[in-house]
């Protein structure tokens, strides 16, 4: 898989208390994710928390490690794997589980907990993804959550990166994302109807 170098170039412009909306399509989501994570780990020497709502954290870790990335400075909060039997029986020590993607405040508190206990000097929080949370959460609650989420970490000088597939995200949530986020990395696919 080839990483998108333009993303790394764009990220050099952002500051620690930024909140970046990363728009991608359904087929390039992981490539875009990896293209954001690589410069955060290597160029900015950051660590952080990866909130995994789209797929199990093990799958993301394995895919990142297949690219030669070390995930030891990232703690994964897995919102998916508690939903099926045996999902939480994993080898990785840097994964914790939240019962369901509807427990949004618990996700926020777990993230804050891991940020408080990490040794990393600079941290990011990567939310993967808004459209996965939109499957379970009502539109107005999700919009409220993203507002709280972004402001909580901005206040703590933690970079927030929010992955989003626009055509699978409720319009009001999308509009609010445009309002709350300070930066936009747009790698959404062009859909020809």
């Amino acid at each position: 898989m080839e990483l998108d170098q333009r993303i790394a170039e764009q990220l050099t412009e952002v500051s620690l208390n930024s909140s970046i909306q990363v728009r991608c399509g359904t087929s390039n989501a992981f490539m875009v994710t990896a293209s954001v994570i690589v410069p955060l780990l290597h160029s900015f020497e950051m660590g952080g928390v990866y909130i995994s709502a789209s797929r199990g954290a093990t799958e993301t870790i394995d895919a990142l490690e297949a690219l030669g990335l070390s995930t030891e400075n990232i703690h994964f909060i897995d919102l998916v794997s508690s939903g099926f039997l045996g999902g939480t029986e994993v080898e990785h020590k840097n994964i914790s589980f939240v019962d369901s993607p509807i427990m949004l405040e618990s996700v926020l508190l777990r993230t804050l907990y891991h940020l408080r206990t990490t040794d990393n000097e600079r941290n990011f929080v990567f939310l993967d993804s808004v459209n996965a949370l939109a499957i379970y959460n009502e539109e107005r609650m999700l919009a409220e959550y993203l507002h709280t989420f972004i402001n909580t970490f901005r206040n703590r000088e933690v970079l927030t990166v929010i992955l989003n597939v626009p055509d699978q995200t409720p319009p009001s949530v999308l509009a609010n994302m445009d309002l709350y986020c300070t930066d936009l990395v747009d790698r959404g696919q062009v859909v020809i109807h």
Binding site: I102, L109, Y113, R140, E144
Partner: protein, 241 residues
């Protein structure tokens, strides 16, 4: 909690922490003592709901709790059953004389050790032995007043069956009236999942927040964040609980 209370529980207050089972009352109470013991305060915990050995076994799983604080005498844990036995109060119900003996025993311990932070877990279990509402009121009022005079800040843990808007914040309906502060803890059900919440209903001497907060028990102790407004109330039209 300090942020919600805009500074913390006022010195010498008696606070009722009322909550449903599994809402985190005991952990909150123990963390209150640990934070005090960390700064060298003498603390005491009277346990009526479970033996002290079991309490300590459960609480030591939390890294914020240091067993050394118990060993060094900063946190003193007392079994109410043992206290009853010392006082010859191994009976089904207490009369006025028994209540006064109990108050004297607790205040003597507080005075002797110099306790500045105290938790009684739970006042509900303790008051089951006091049959009259008036006697319960007298007991709690006198105890709270004496402890405040001694400079002791107290959390009285109360077990309730429901923490919804229409519920009482105490089992006997009198505890809430005599306390300086009331903290309610319970669960909000959201699509079949239970989220713990904490809400400060009253805290004399503070301009505290009255918002409902989601509570997580983490290895660092209790962590709180304001509960989402669209996720904290029952809205039948939308089907959210």
């Amino acid at each position: 909690m300090d942020e919600i209370l805009r500074g913390g529980i006022p010195y010498g207050s008696t606070v009722l922490a009322a909550g449903t089972c599994g809402s985190g009352k005991t952990t909150l109470g123990m963390e209150f003592l640990v934070r005090g013991a960390t700064t060298g305060e003498a603390c005491a915990h009277f346990t009526a709901t479970e033996p002290s050995v079991k309490l300590l076994e459960n609480i030591r799983q939390f890294p914020f709790f240091d067993m050394g604080m118990v060993d060094s005498g900063l946190i003193n844990v007392f079994d109410m059953d043992v206290l009853y036995s010392w006082l010859g109060l191994e009976k089904a119900s207490f009369d006025l004389e028994d209540v006064h003996a109990l108050i004297k025993a607790i205040t003597d311990i507080v005075n002797t050790i110099g306790v500045t932070r105290l938790v009684i877990d739970s006042v509900t279990t303790l008051c089951y032995k006091i049959k009259s509402e008036q006697l319960i009121r007298d007991f709690l009022f006198t105890l709270g007043k004496k402890l405040a005079t001694l400079g002791c800040t107290t959390i009285l843990i109360s077990e309730i069956t429901s923490a919804t808007e229409n519920a009482h914040w105490s089992s006997f309906g009198v505890e809430e009236a005599i306390c300086d502060g009331i903290i309610v803890m319970g669960d909000v059900e959201r699509m079949g999942h239970l989220l713990r919440f904490l809400q400060v209903v009253k805290m004399r001497g503070t301009s505290h927040s009255r918002a409902k907060n989601t509570l997580e028990l983490t290895p660092l102790g209790v962590m709180l964040t304001p509960m989402l407004k669209w996720g904290s109330t029952v809205d039948n039209k939308q089907g959210w609980g």
